[in-house]
Symmetry: C2
Subunit: 341 residues, 2 copies
């Protein structure tokens, strides 16, 4: 038995910011599900900055998407058919390997169970999913925030940033937001951030960050690279930690060298630690992160904002708008009804 | 009772490479030694790249030298008078806080005992002293070399590099030297380095480093910054560690921004860890490092080269030649006779 699926496939590796022509929506036939597999329909597809790396022409992360291949992406999905003992039709799962499509046949092992009674389904792509785990584990492993320390977070109202700021507050740190609008900064304040800098309107970004961080910066959660990175690196305290989590400001010159000021003297003088973080390395610890995030959520310590677009057709444009800074909160695209019941 | 001392004092904060006019040799009167203090004469003064940071006009490490202040530096010294129970005249001590002078009154606490029977006195400024401890602790804390890993060391024949290469070999790593002459690379081979790159004659430094490291680079012990750093950062393996130990290639533009290619994408894709290391943070662990280095030395696993100049008058020029890459091995200046007996 086979099933029909509509899937976005890559037509070209973009240079710089992608265009909608970099993908093509095509009909595909799915075999199975075979023994141990399930058939599922996507309810929400995730839209994340890291996807830019997956479509780079250059060697990048393992898992680059080939021309003609289905675009990589995570989803919350509903099980339609199951040949795996853990899953029944009507169950919901979260997976980082669904792809930009409406239906998929997946191995039943390695999927995360989603409880629709606990939180909205899209939360499992947000604070209870990949961005939440990223914020938690990166702060746990690299950030190591101590009470009273100043933690600056770029893209502070984004999917990772909004969770990171709340974790910092829960750990007793002072959270400083950098974001692109007053509206986003107001939302950050509501989340508990102690101070904020609007990088689009600041007369001098370095001065503004200096004023928002009068005691210097102990931890820098860097989701952007670029000018924010430059301003922060000059204000690191002794023993500072820098999490390199994303480089979204480089999206328009993704495969070109990034030229500018380097900070080796600052790293040496501050004895700073700069470390790249990628959530896909930490699959074995998703449970640890999810438990911590669920506990914060149940205690009422986690607010979040979700930026929802509608229909599979919107995927390329939703992704492109994420790269150009127009989203607010975690970006998802709703494919099907939340429940068919 | 007072004593006469001749001391180099700072006359100006240099911009770029210092000149001999940045210091003045002057006669000073030493009081004491008071209770708990000793009077000592320097036998060897240490000459080290980190001293450039101490005379920067910019805020830098704690311990910057003020105009008119005695130039900072370590020494192996002989005790002449003692008002401290641990020390007697004729004992030898090592300290990182002697200064560029022939005599000093020092607190008796916090000095390291030197055994002239175990190794030549200048070894306590080299593989049994600050550079040896730096190599050992930086590799222990940040490098964490595993057998079979490729470790690239810049300034490989220098005071830190020559020890680092031998530690890497003892840990089962593959050591790759980058140095400025064939003579230095031949010496590195003799120390056990597996491969070497001459950065002055390589047609393309990146290609040469790529050929010397066919399996990529797992650990980068960076003593130089600059073009070697740039070439290595593009060849980091997954999970690579980068020790920022020195930035000697920036000596000529010390207080200016260092412009060039940045490597945040590479750090993210490799999930690399870049960390500044300064030995002065690790005083509590000098014993651990010294024991390990003494054990290697006794086992015959440590060779070293020392570049000895003579007389206090030579200090400024010896230091300047170190910054311009003309030394070979650990640079010291011999002030007095090794022993007056």
């Amino acid at each position: 038995m086979t099933h029909l699926s509509r899937a976005w496939v890559l037509t070209a590796h973009p240079t710089g910011i992608p265009t909608v022509e970099n993908w093509r929506l095509e009909d595909q036939t799915l075999p199975g599900p075979a023994d141990g597999e399930i058939l599922a329909r996507s309810v929400y597809l995730s839209v994340d900055p890291y996807m830019r790396g997956r479509i780079s022409a250059k060697a990048n992360y393992a898992g680059g998407v080939a021309i003609g291949g289905i675009m990589h992406g995570g989803a919350v999905a509903e099980v339609l058919e199951s040949n795996h003992p853990d899953w029944r039709p009507g169950d919901h799962v979260e997976t980082m390997n669904f792809g930009w499509r409406d239906k998929a046949v997946l191995k039943g092992d390695g999927l995360t169970r989603v409880d629709p009674a606990l939180a909205p389904l899209h939360a499992y792509l947000s604070y209870l999913g990949m961005p939440g785990r990223t914020a938690w584990l990166a702060l746990q492993d690299i950030g190591q925030v101590k009470p009273g320390e100043t933690v600056l977070i770029s893209a502070a109202s984004g999917a990772v940033g909004q969770v990171a700021g709340q974790i910092v507050k829960a750990k007793g740190g002072r959270a400083v937001a950098v974001a692109s609008s007053e509206e986003k900064l107001a939302w950050c304040k509501q989340l508990g951030y102690d101070a904020g800098v609007n990088y689009r309107t600041a007369e001098d970004l370095g001065t503004a960050i200096g004023e928002a961080c009068p005691d210097g910066i102990d931890v820098f959660f860097d989701n952007t690279a670029g000018p924010i990175h430059d301003a922060v690196m000059k204000r690191l305290n002794l023993g500072a930690r820098v999490i390199i989590c994303g480089t979204i400001s480089l999206a328009s010159k993704f495969d070109e060298p990034d030229m500018g000021e380097r900070f080796l003297r600052q790293i040496l003088v501050a004895r700073a630690r700069i470390q790249g973080f990628l959530i896909f390395d930490h699959v074995a610890r998703y449970g640890e992160a999810n438990s911590a995030l669920a506990a914060m959520s149940e205690a009422g310590d986690l607010q979040f904002k979700t930026d929802v677009e509608e229909r599979l057709e919107a995927m390329p444009s939703a992704f492109i708008s994420l790269l150009t800074g127009d989203n607010f909160g975690k970006k998802v695209v709703r494919i099907g009804p939340d429940s068919e019941s």
